[in-house]
């Protein structure tokens, strides 16, 4: 039985990845998860310099999910390469580094610093709803997305994945812009912007007021967007948004995702990634499917 998938010439032993920002740099979940069992570890967004992130409270629970407004706190690319990348390279898994910035130049600097490393792919965060500058500003307008994609593609040594925001009117327009600018793949969805109000205190629960919603409650929206994009572009899609079980992951695969990522569910079940990978194998076995590629995009 084959569970391996290929994105931009890189082969992944299985389609299960981690959602950026929900798995640290892998180190934090090393006690729970055998990282060798994952198709890839996608790391927390990293910028050219350290970012402090937003004030607390940064997280809030909502029905069937959560809101976060971390604000892309990160130690900066230099520490990341020296410490986190060195850690991840001990494992037999692919490494996808999520990069972020306030300006296009910030992104380019990170991509250039990673050019000499052996990371497998870059995922470009143009969809974080929790930072004031950069990030989502590049992900909500097709021409801005086209521009940043082509400029990063010009300097990046690794294939690039553009991570799309669901907070747009037509996600296929963004997918097409990324594809035509040379993106090797797209990943979706990032979180949906939301608000929670503390009615006793008459104030926002999050210090940032708004936050990004994730968790099982957003899954149908994510599956819909993956399916729409699969019908709009030819580049591979990494699907994510509310995946808790193998059944959830298989929905994304059938909708047209070549790979999937487990995000907020890591917080709820630290073993979720491995359970999803095992569950997909069981499903294939049970249905006598020889190759996982048979089910990718099978629902048109």
């Amino acid at each position: 039985m084959n569970t391996s998938v290929k994105i931009a010439g890189v082969e992944f032993k299985n389609p299960v990845m981690t959602g950026s920002g929900t798995f640290g740099s892998g180190m934090e979940y090393g006690e729970f998860v055998d990282l060798n069992r994952l198709g890839a570890v996608v790391t927390k967004g990293v910028a050219n310099v350290p970012w402090t992130g937003n004030p607390t409270p940064r997280v809030a629970e909502v029905y069937g999910g959560m809101l976060n407004a971390i604000g892309l706190q990160n130690p900066g690319i230099d520490v990341f390469i020296e410490r986190d990348l060195a850690f991840l390279r001990q494992f037999d898994t692919k490494v996808i580094v999520n990069i972020c910035g306030k300006t296009v130049e910030d992104y380019l600097e990170v991509a250039e610093k990673l050019a000499d490393t052996d990371v497998d792919l870059l995922e470009v965060n143009v969809s974080c709803p929790n930072v004031k500058e950069g990030a989502i500003a590049f992900g909500q307008k097709a021409d801005a997305l086209y521009d940043i994609t082509s400029r990063i593609k010009a300097v990046a040594k690794q294939p690039i994945i553009m991570k799309l925001s669901p907070n747009v009117t037509d996600i296929t327009e963004m997918a097409r812009a990324a594809e035509s600018a040379g993106a090797d793949a797209i990943s979706l969805i990032n979180t949906l912007t939301g608000v929670k109000i503390d009615i006793e205190r008459r104030q926002f629960v999050l210090a940032n007021k708004t936050g990004g919603m994730s968790g099982p409650a957003i899954k149908p929206i994510a599956v819909r967007m993956v399916w729409q994009c699969a019908n709009a572009v030819k580049i591979p899609i990494i699907g994510m948004g509310g995946i808790a079980t193998a059944q959830d992951a298989i929905e994304f695969l059938m909708a047209g995702a070549t790979a999937v990522a487990v995000g907020a569910m890591n917080f709820i079940n630290p073993y979720a990634t491995m359970e999803v990978a095992e569950g997909i194998e069981e499903f294939l076995q049970k249905h006598g499917i020889e190759d996982i590629r048979e089910i990718i995009g099978c629902v048109k």
Partner: protein
């Protein structure tokens, strides 16, 4: 280092100690690894409310394999936990966080052990692990002084030096018992002096403890709390400001769940 894991714990029993305050005893393999000031994350069964609730360890009995959690009902998750009965199963993740550094309280020293409100429970295990003379000061809203007897019996269990010069002091906001006011008022009223402070309680209390320790020029270890998601240092949800860039995060933020919850008071901006 002990391995963190998620496991199904068995409820040994639960009783109510005061209005909204519950005392839950769990049988779990993780009990043997627990130290004072650490916590576990407890999962609600209701699938609409997914995140685990961080709850401090009130007592850990490695030999019996039990953890005692004393918590306040604050929302739907803890309301669900308050309905747990003997024999029920509940998922927990642990053991999490770094506890109180009891080894800093050397023989011959006197330690102040301060607990305020729902910050009182972890002070009980701390009292059992602290090897020197200790002045335990616990603050409550009113006469519902939960765990007070447990502190008194914990002191009686200490022979020799650890028991000598030790005592339990109470403060209540409404003055119904002990010193009227908070734990700082009780320290002043009883003329307590110490070489080291350990504290858990609401933020205004911890700020007062930090200031007190600075004035007295003694170390203070305080336990912080914040809204948490993962509990293992990945999500960066529960950070506190630090005086200097933190060695792990490289910014002036430390993760309460993994770098804390206990911090040296002068090292954090609170």
């Amino acid at each position: 280092m002990a391995q963190k894991k998620k496991e199904a714990a068995r409820v040994v029993g639960q009783r109510q100690l005061a209005p909204g305050i519950f005392d839950l005893v769990l049988r779990t393999e993780l009990a043997g690894q627990a130290c004072c000031g650490q916590f576990v994350a407890v999962y609600p069964k209701d699938r609409s409310t997914l995140l685990p609730r961080p709850i401090s360890i009130c007592e850990a009995d490695g030999a019996a394999g039990t953890l005692r959690l004393v918590y306040r009902v604050a929302g739907s998750g803890t309301a669900e936990f308050s309905g747990l009965r003997e024999g029920d199963s509940v998922d927990i993740l642990g053991i999490l966080g770094n506890g109180f550094p009891v080894q800093k309280a050397l023989p011959g020293m006197t330690a102040l052990l301060l607990g305020g409100g729902i910050g009182v429970p972890p002070i009980l295990q701390l009292a059992k692990e602290t090897g020197c003379a200790k002045k335990i000061v616990v603050g409550y809203r009113d006469a519902h002084c939960f765990l007070k007897e447990d502190f008194e019996s914990a002191l009686q269990g200490h022979d020799g030096e650890a028991g000598k010069g030790s005592g339990v002091y109470v403060a209540t906001e409404d003055g119904s018992t002990g010193t009227k006011g908070n734990v700082m008022d009780a320290i002043a009223a009883n003329g307590l002096k110490a070489d080291i402070v350990y504290a858990c309680g609401p933020m205004p209390m911890l700020r007062a403890v930090k200031q007190y320790a600075q004035q007295e020029n003694i170390p203070a270890y305080i336990s912080l709390e914040e809204r948490m998601a993962c509990g293992v240092g990945a999500c960066l949800g529960c950070v506190c400001k630090t005086k200097e860039p933190h060695h792990h995060t490289h910014v002036r933020n430390a993760r309460i769940c993994t770098d804390g919850p206990v911090f040296e008071a002068q090292e954090v901006d609170i």
